[in-house]
Amino acid sequence: MTPEAAVAAAIELHAQQPGGLLPLLHEIQDRLGYVPPQSLGPIAKAMHLSVAEVHGVLGFYHHFRQKPPGRHILRLCLAEACQSMGSRQLLEHARKITGADLHATSPDGALTLEPVYCLGNCACSPAVLLDKQLFGRVDAQRLEDIVERCREAT
């Protein structure tokens, strides 16, 4: 699906919904992996908002991305419970094995590393979310296995 078609479909689905801007932005990101800058104009027009207002909403929420991510998104929980079980060290290890910093994509394009503040898996810390799949009790070895899986899968 082209970005233009995805944006048009999202507008079709959500422009008339009360408070529909967030569902609309989710729809675009679910389809494309990010919200392209050129979509702001059409969204603003359809929702009777200014481009600045749409941009303001898009930029407010950590979840929304404005450029394409890697093939997979790996979110590392850095909230307190996971910190108490070593997630800071796990983050260092993730940086080393992926070659990506937080909010960046690994050089091979396999994955984008993002921080997240709580996945609700605090009794099985540390936790990571790979795309929509949750992992608990993640140690260095388990993290390497997860990263390896991202590299293999296309």
């Binding site: 009360p18 408070g19 569902p23 932005l25 909403v57 979840h63 503040y117 609700g120 979310l129």
Partner: protein
């Protein structure tokens, strides 16, 4: 006769292998020609035993865990389908002390039922509460909730019945019920467990709320970090609607109430109710001034009842068993039960629903079994990222809203995160302000700017602990944030910082600096 085996479909259980184990059990049964039905339930909340496998026997369910994929063949060989002894066995699930010592009310069905089976739900007392609420009428229903003493379980602990009455008393023709499922506090997962493991209890609680306050439309605002919970609650709503528990004619009462799920987008501040309403309206999650209260002027300017997941999920129990039965649990002004969540560096992490009044020490050691690392527990953060770090000397405080407030701490949403003696609490204090800076909506200057300045001042304290002026400045800044912020983010982010300054000054190097000065 086929054997029934239970494995959780809770995301936390899956995160440590429950899906693989469930598939391995089905595969092994097929290989051996055994007639086995694998039922996927919510989690019992005994997360250190996950993946937990339970088997139906004449005496009740027998538990095995934590089970790995490679243990499955051995379990079959030793006769676990008949509840036989095995090294991973724990006997009858109900008699595991961790569970036996709890007083499960809101979580009574958790782990017992298939989350999306309405038959299971009804067989375990589901929809008794809604029927009761409909038959007594809205005025009596609101009074029942007031009498129960239930207070908001999201953190603020406001009397729920009073809030319901305020919304009910508004003359508006359009009203909303909004469920706050933006469970962003680290160390908490009770909302997630409800949505994944017993979603109908939330749907029923919201329907009771709707018919009692006169609202016809409800929203559940689920955080984007909870994809499993979102998928399950969306499905549960469809099932409930098809069966007539939602829609134009709720349980044949002639009253309309329907639900829609909205997904958050990774903003912690949207757990604050007015910011969440802005977000539901499709805007930046900026905190609103109060008054007007959301109960008077909330979503789209209409009277809106905003309650947390666990609060709404506690409502059916109150109606099914009566206000007095609920009130009989607890102490002081903290009535009923709270699902505490034991998390972080603790050996037996999980969900512990008990009446208020238990001490932190009982929770950490009798239930939690001490730290996961085996080192002494040095501090616990209670009530999420805005909660104080409580030292060992205060572990005997009873868990009661007022007792914790008196310590400068809070129970909040019931999350308890343990740290062992290797933790650098000055770093955790710094993190509290880093997090506040990251998540501030930006409306109030003390929160928006103060949090960044606080991080800088803490760095200066660590570099120059001998300079007392920096500590004075940090305390003053904390005071400004507490007094000058509209909501709890800026208003309470100082709590963890001050608790570390007061109880763990050595982590900032302040004790050594004071000793050097006096020497």
């Amino acid at each position: 006769m086929s054997a029934r085996v239970f494995v959780a479909r809770d995301s936390s259980a899956i995160s440590v292998g429950a899906q693989t184990v469930a598939e391995a059990i089905a595969a092994q049964a097929a290989r051996l020609g055994e007639d086995v039905e694998v039922v996927r339930t919510g989690s019992r909340g005994l997360f250190w035993l996950e993946p937990l496998v339970e088997v139906d026997t004449a005496g009740g369910r027998v538990a095995y865990g934590p089970v790995r994929e490679q243990d499955v063949a051995d379990l079959f060989a030793s006769g676990f389908l008949r509840g036989a002894h095995h090294r991973l066995g724990h006997g009858l699930t109900q008699q595991i002390p961790y569970l036996a010592r709890q007083q499960r009310q809101t979580f009574a069905r958790m782990g017992l039922v298939d989350p999306l089976s309405l038959d299971d739900y009804r067989q375990h007392g589901g929809y008794v509460g809604l029927r009761q609420a409909l038959s007594m009428g809205p005025a009596a229903a609101v009074q029942t909730l007031i009498d129960s003493g239930l207070r908001g379980r999201g953190g603020a602990a406001f009397p729920t019945g009073i809030k319901w009455k305020t919304v009910r008393d508004q003359p508006s023709a359009t009203k909303y019920v909004v469920c706050n499922a933006d469970e962003g506090d680290s160390g908490t997962f009770s909302d997630r467990m409800i949505m994944e493991g017993d979603p109908f209890v939330l749907v029923e609680g919201m329907a009771i709320a709707g018919v009692s306050v006169g609202a016809t439309q409800g929203y559940i605002y689920v955080r984007s970090e909870y994809p499993y919970a979102e998928a399950t609650i969306v499905r549960a709503i469809e099932v409930a609607r098809t069966a007539g528990y939602l829609g134009a004619d709720v349980m044949g009462s002639g009253q309309r109430f329907d639900l829609e799920v909205r997904r958050g987008a990774g903003a912690y501040i949207c757990g604050e109710e007015t910011s969440m309403l802005e977000s539901l309206e499709g805007k930046r999650g900026m905190v609103r001034f109060r008054p007007p209260l959301p109960a008077v002027e909330g979503l789209f300017g209409k009277p809106t009842l905003v309650n947390n997941v666990v609060t709404l999920a506690s409502v059916p129990t109150v109606f099914a068993h009566g206000a007095q039965a609920y009130r009989d649990f607890g102490m002081g002004r903290s009535r009923g039960t709270l699902p505490f969540q034991l998390a972080g560096n603790v050996r037996h992490g999980g969900l512990v629903e008990t009446a208020f009044g238990l001490t932190l020490r009982e929770l950490l050691y009798d239930f939690g079994g001490g730290s996961a690392s085996g080192r002494p527990i040095r501090a616990v953060q209670v009530g999420g990222p805005l909660g104080a770090y409580v030292p060992q000397s205060q572990f005997d405080t009873p868990l009661d809203y007022e007792a914790f407030a008196a310590l400068g701490a809070m129970i909040g949403h019931g999350g308890i995160v343990a740290f062992d003696d290797a933790a650098d609490l000055a770093q955790m204090a710094r993190f509290a302000m880093e997090f506040c800076a990251l998540e501030s909506c930006g409306k109030c200057t003390p929160c928006r700017i103060g949090s960044t300045r606080a991080v800088e001042v803490m760095d200066r304290i660590r570099a120059h602990p001998e300079n007392a002026a920096h500590v004075g400045l940090l305390r003053e800044l904390c005071e400004t944030m507490t007094a000058g912020s509209l909501c709890a983010l800026g208003g309470m982010a100082p709590a963890p910082v001050l608790s570390v300054l007061n109880h763990f000054p050595e982590d900032f190097g302040l004790v050594a600096a004071a000793a050097a000065k006096s020497a």
